[in-house]
Subunit: 137 residues, 2 copies
């Protein structure tokens, strides 16, 4: 898949640097959005914090990554290419995060976006459900 990520980066206007490739590979193996600190740990400090922030920002801008705010006071990132569009269930007690998706909800969202007359275009959306996970309740 390494080759795929390299090509993907170039198509998006980036250089296929080891750092960015490693970042994408790392996120590919994750099932939930990671914080900057979590990503850093998994990369074993091989990348400067500033570089990581800049990469995350740039890749998010080009929609290779998706940023989500889960009410924890810091951003979370996940790979957005090659993944089914989904939303998040967030446990307000332990911060556990699970993905979920719902076809009829998706339909309703697209319809709602079309009705948003105050805006000319809707490019993305984020939806989080907050509650208690099975373990915490």
């Amino acid at each position: 898949m390494q080759q795929g990520f390299k090509e993907m980066l170039r198509k998006a206007g980036f250089r296929a640097t080891p750092g960015k490739v490693a970042l994408l590979e790392l996120l590919q193996d994750e099932v939930k959005p990671l914080t900057v600190v979590e990503i850093q740990k998994k990369l074993r400090q091989k990348q400067d914090t500033v570089t990581l922030y800049r990469s995350l920002e740039a890749l998010t801008e080009k929609n290779l990554l998706a940023r989500s705010e889960l009410g924890h006071g810091h951003a979370h990132y996940e790979l957005s290419v090659g993944k089914k569009h989904h939303h998040h269930l967030v446990c307000t007690s332990c911060e556990r995060v699970e993905d979920f998706s719902d076809p009829s909800l998706e339909t309703a969202l697209i319809k709602a976006a079309k009705n948003a007359k105050a805006f000319k275009s809707i490019n993305s959306h984020s939806l989080e459900l907050f509650g208690l996970c099975a373990r915490c309740s």
Copy 2:
């Protein structure tokens, strides 16, 4: 309405302090979620920053306020009592925020929440649509 807020605070287990009452009154007059800094300016520095953070946290916990993350890297707060449940349209160019609500979307959301079997209970949700407002596009 001051009396109403005082009672509301006591019912939620708080003291009806001038600070908290002023905070609720301030947010009542707003049509969009405010950041901590914006709230501070409007309160004219009559409250310590720490106290403000603590009040916002506590009132959000009791659902008198609603916190929303709008992709700006910091929290936003608005009054949740006495307001119709709604979501946000966020302009990714100028950061303009508009409310919107959609009954059929709401139905779909509630249904989706019920199907979230991984979680025992869903207490709240937040939905933001990101795009370009009429002025920016």
